[in-house]
């Protein structure tokens, strides 16, 4: 701390208008460095923060030109800017849009924000510069930018992985699948029972692998593809989804009922995939001999729509209600209910990208209701959201 000196008693003996004690307390309590200069550019007062920021004792600064606190390369141009400010001394930020730096006594630099204001007018004018060290903010900005670039890169990696998966993995698998299938077509029942078994397992494995690759592709694309947000009539979307599921619906004699549904802002491809996966699951996870009954409904929330797919299937133990949305999480053996365990992960990813959430409620009499929300006008509704 300083000795009890009133810094507002200025070098040439002028007095400020406020009681010294009060002004001085305010002055030194300010979180920013405060530097008062005369029209000539000479420093007349600094506060405690200025000493700490720049590493000078206050008496080392009094009476010297303000330019001592600036990088050498800017000192000359600053003298001109100072003269311009004196002609139009409004309160404002200095160097808007420029990177400003202060220079400490030890010659090290640090980034600053500076606000200017003035006291008095005419030849007695005093200019007050409020100096804030923004090192922390700059560092955070740099970190944020680095993280953004890293995220962009990893999304690109994922997108190129999706491409590799689609092309390079599918190609050899198509060969395995084709020839195993031909073996099955031509030689089933013509070799011995073991051979038939082996062929069956090979065909089955290949088919699951193909489903897996397709689902993995869906999963990575739902996270990386650009969103095309438009007004989607969910009635039409559901009609399309149901018609693509018609073979399964007919096969299971399923009863599907649909309430009137709203028009919402979403990416139609991804929203379609959510419905497709939820309805497929509702058709798949039914007890043997039970006719699937599926009901689709919508409810208005304060700032979103909630869409629900209710079924009379085998239900989900409440313990697993969260876990079913994790990738590759399956609650049943392949023999009971086929699948690779990515369908609900795809739903979760798609819904969350649209700014909503997804969950499952289990009824006491069995069956489950999957619900998700879609916000009315997703924040930053453009095609570049991550």
């Amino acid at each position: 701390m300083h000795p009890q000196t009133s810094y507002l008693g200025t070098a040439d003996g002028r007095d400020a208008d406020l009681p010294h004690q009060a002004v001085e307390s305010l002055f030194n309590a300010a979180p920013d460095g405060l530097v008062v200069i005369e029209a000539s550019g000479v420093i007349v007062v600094v506060n405690d923060q200025t000493e700490q920021l720049f590493g000078y004792a206050h008496n080392e600064l009094l009476g010297v030109p303000i330019e001592v606190l600036l990088p050498e390369s800017l000192r000359e141009v600053h003298t001109q800017h100072r003269a311009e400010y004196l002609r139009d001394p409004t309160t404002r930020s200095m160097g808007v849009g420029l990177e400003l730096y202060g220079v400490r006594k030890d010659a090290s630099r640090f980034p600053v924000d500076i606000n200017l204001s003035s006291l008095h007018a005419g030849p007695d004018m005093l200019v007050i510069a409020s100096v804030r060290d923004v090192t922390g903010r700059k560092r955070a900005e740099l970190l944020l930018e680095a993280n953004r670039l890293e995220l962009e890169r990893s999304n690109l990696d994922l997108a190129s992985f999706a491409y590799v998966a689609s092309h390079d993995l599918q190609e050899p698998l198509r060969m395995v699948s084709s020839y195993v299938q031909l073996l099955a077509d031509r030689y089933r029942g013509k070799l011995d029972p073991d051979a038939d078994d082996f062929i069956h397992f090979a065909v089955d494995g290949v088919q699951r692998m193909q489903t897996l690759i397709r689902d993995l592709l869906d999963y990575s694309q739902v996270g990386t593809a650009e969103l095309a947000l438009v007004a989607v009539d969910t009635n039409e979307l559901i009609a399309d989804t149901l018609s693509s599921l018609e073979p399964v619906i007919n096969d299971k004699h399923a009863q599907v009922t649909v309430d009137p549904l709203p028009t919402i802002t979403a990416d139609p491809t991804q929203l379609g995939q959510v419905f497709q996966n939820l309805i497929s699951n509702a058709l798949k996870f039914t007890a043997p001999g039970v006719v699937p009954r599926i009901h689709l409904s919508a409810a208005r929330g304060p700032d979103n729509w909630r869409l629900s797919v209710e079924d009379n299937g085998i239900g989900i133990d409440a313990v697993y209600a969260e876990r079913v949305f994790a990738p590759f999480k399956r609650l049943h053996g392949l023999g009971e209910y086929p699948g690779v365990g990515l369908g609900l992960s795809v739903c979760k990813r798609a819904v969350e990208r649209l700014g909503g959430r997804i969950w499952v409620d289990t009824a006491s009499d069995g069956g489950s209701t999957f619900s998700f929300t879609i916000p009315d006008a997703p924040e930053g509704a453009d095609a570049t959201r991550q």
């Binding site: 092309h167 599918q170 190609e171 198509r174 060969m175 699948s177 084709s178 020839y179 299938q181």
Partner: protein, 146 residues
């Protein structure tokens, strides 16, 4: 075509032996007598078409089935060269590729491919696709005689 009894000459440009075999087996049991010639890359295909050594005795194909993803000279280059060659450009070219990319489809048609087919993943669908190429190009349409 049915009036002419000489077999139809088909050039299959394909580097995947598995697909060559599938295509060959399908065409062998087709409606129309045909001779299948196989080129394993783009350079081989152009040498065959231009009857360069050692293909001096090569027949002129009535139909080319062309994969896009080929070693050395790729399918797009082969397509462009055939369509720019006054002595070859009337030969119908069917693209049969794993690519479903829109830019490949567009570029192929811009270069005057006569049809573009993405290889179906399921083997029965693949056989059906080759059968329909055979049926349409060798049976239904009338091709120019060299």
């Amino acid at each position: 075509m049915p009036l002419d009894s000489s077999p139809i000459q088909i050039l299959l440009v394909e580097d995947n032996p598995g697909d060559v075999r599938l295509t060959a087996e399908t065409l062998r049991t087709g409606k129309v007598a045909n001779d299948l010639h196989v080129a394993k890359d783009g350079e081989h295909a152009m040498a065959f078409l231009r009857r360069e050594t050692p293909h001096t005795g090569a027949p002129r194909p009535d139909l080319v089935i062309l994969d896009l993803n080929l070693p050395r000279k790729d399918g797009i280059e082969v397509l462009a060269e055939i369509k720019q060659d006054d002595s070859l450009h009337v030969i119908p070219i069917v693209i049969l590729t794993t690519s479903a990319a829109e830019r490949d489809v567009l570029q192929s048609y811009e270069l005057k491919a006569n049809a573009y087919i993405t290889k179906p993943i399921d083997v029965h669908d693949f056989i059906a696709a080759v059968t329909s190429i055979e049926d349409f190009w060798l049976h239904i349409v009338r091709l120019p005689r060299a």
